[in-house]
Symmetry: C2
Subunit: 436 residues, 2 copies
Amino acid sequence: MVSSAATPHVVIVGGGFGGLACARTLRRAPVRVTLVDRLNHHLFQPLLYQVATAGLSPAQIAAPIRQVLSRQRNVSVVMAEVTAVDAERRVVHLADGQLAYDILVLAAGAETSWFGNDEWACLAPGLKTIEDALEIRERLMESFERAERSLDPESRISNLTFVIVGGGPTGVEIAGAIREIALHQVPRDYRNVDTTSARIILVEAQDRLLPAGFDETLCVRAARDLRKTGVEVRLETRVVAIDAASVELQGHAGTERIATRNVIWAAGIRPSPIAATLGCPLDRSGQVPVEADLSVRGRPEIFIVGDMARVKDPESGNLVPGIAPAAMQMGRHAGRVIATGQREPFHYRDKGMLATIGRARAVGTLGGLRLTGLVAWLLWSGVHIFYLISFRQRILVMLDWIWSYLFFSGGARLITTPAPGRRHPPRDGSGPSSSE
Amino acid sequence: MVSSAATPHVVIVGGGFGGLACARTLRRAPVRVTLVDRLNHHLFQPLLYQVATAGLSPAQIAAPIRQVLSRQRNVSVVMAEVTAVDAERRVVHLADGQLAYDILVLAAGAETSWFGNDEWACLAPGLKTIEDALEIRERLMESFERAERSLDPESRISNLTFVIVGGGPTGVEIAGAIREIALHQVPRDYRNVDTTSARIILVEAQDRLLPAGFDETLCVRAARDLRKTGVEVRLETRVVAIDAASVELQGHAGTERIATRNVIWAAGIRPSPIAATLGCPLDRSGQVPVEADLSVRGRPEIFIVGDMARVKDPESGNLVPGIAPAAMQMGRHAGRVIATGQREPFHYRDKGMLATIGRARAVGTLGGLRLTGLVAWLLWSGVHIFYLISFRQRILVMLDWIWSYLFFSGGARLITTPAPGRRHPPRDGSGPSSSE
């Protein structure tokens, strides 16, 4: 693989967990690496919900990709939008140029999917980027403000009703965090409304919370713990309509319309649209089916890692889950194949899974052990602090968490866009609607 | 003043230093206070330049006004935009309603003024809000990215040329901070450009830096220190034209056109337009001339504090400067007059002035003493940490500063808006121009 006369040029698309792990694995390989991302920062996605719920600041969970890789001399970082791959000519098309490659690693991740209802995008924002998180944070804080100023009891209730769609880890974590804000962090700040009366409704189409990989006992426990804190958990329930003032749910008991000005979409993702430009068949979800070594069938010079790849573990036969540790393992694997030329099959090592449920509670597995409550939460905190990219961020995030735990106080409850000239129209139906 | 049968209603417009100080002074007074601000947070403006130059995160220098005042039971906080004052009817008009007052305190501060050249607003952003600061931060980081990708030497130079207009404390601090980034923080991150070659030009129309109140020896020292770090200081020089690719300067030696894609406007402010709705004559700068007790002539129930007020100190005859300590003193004074009914004249207590000049250097005065270099910088750090609103922010900002000092590394070098669909058009002339 590294036998060509000139130094081979490896292009990595995406500076997420998969792309960064691949670049780092190549640090001593005799290759020239170019990492392309449309943003200048790596984002620690597992904590993005804390930015959306005003616990952390963006800079605490994001780091400039250049800075992360500044000591690795064989890597260049390019901030550019990749629009397509020309696999025949071995060229990546950028919004304003192109890049030729010898080896390509696609690690561009996934984006929010509204399952064909793209008109919901501006009514029920998803959570994949820092902009998304700040948008949700702003809407959340504005709802409390609107409730405080409103003289109409119905408007108050609809402003204090939060519907979170999707019972995966993100949905569970957002629901728990909003409950925590309404119950502990802001009640003293408002004079006219009782924020502890806020309704938080978590809607999930399946009959259980959390993703397929999670132990079923723990899924039941997560639902019980959430309900104990006051979150309404609706399983086997689907969203059939969303408008500016309400959401319609369909469950066993029929349909129900809930008046709310706050819907957050944590229900689905779809792989980056770059996958579709490869010219190879995709699976139903839009992922690229890969060979055992993570390369594309018939294109040994193209590797797919992270959320863009559909990978079955050869031993268990299970699909590899779309979580950060899996993306990192795939990135490292692709890097090793490129560096050594040995086309070993990829094996996913399941190190466990964790999800927090509000204040000092979590559920998870670790090496076969089931953990719940405070123990799981301490483990969750430790793991997330450990994996944060820079040491500076580790310290600052840890201090923020300790502070929040002790004093029931959030760290970043800011509305930074002034009311007129607001970037995203508020959900009162008066602004022009726009899909993002 | 508190003799009316019902509890008097004090409306304070603005949650900056003046408005908050006034609200706090009224905490034991037999009045009902409503504080109105169009944003939900108090902003620690003296450190805003550090958000613009990627040193701190917004949440580290801003705090929700509700939270700051949550323990003070006689205050309500309303998030709303004040559009006008009807002094006859004693009513404040909001964008979506109105508020009747018995006593009014106007503390709405100032906004950026381009001295009649409002078309410069999108070419040379000002620095008054968190949005402004994030906009400048994004442009700054994008310039380095564009320089790195550019193959044209002229475009590289213009992307690495930063022109800061206005030699007041903000201009001096921004110039020093950008020099520090280019020289120490990012050089290792880029492969194709030498960021240490960046030109930073500070333009000031007067013959000296820093505002009128500053000791002249220190102004000379500030210019010398800035030049030593590599900033080009141009005194007695005016900006006569700005376009998307250059700025035209006029000095003693004639006019010069400098190719640059980065102009930051720190040259002027004007009082909030609310002042003009009062119906009383304003001075040339748009400020409201006030009586000795800070009330408006003929309207003893209206007080003006902070940047909106034109106040001469009765002893020295000097104008009270537009800085945070002055606004706080005025706010407290208006609060005491309201609480006691004693119409004492306002006296400004000059506690000194400080301005930083890049890494570990500052100039300032303290009780008649002139301070420079590291000593002044340590004092500057201490004072700013001390006055930050919450204890949590004090700790986190201090840690960030210590870290930056030790490791030459900024804290928040993020570009959060993805390239397409960007909110503000980049300065390449291709996007639609918009005034902000």
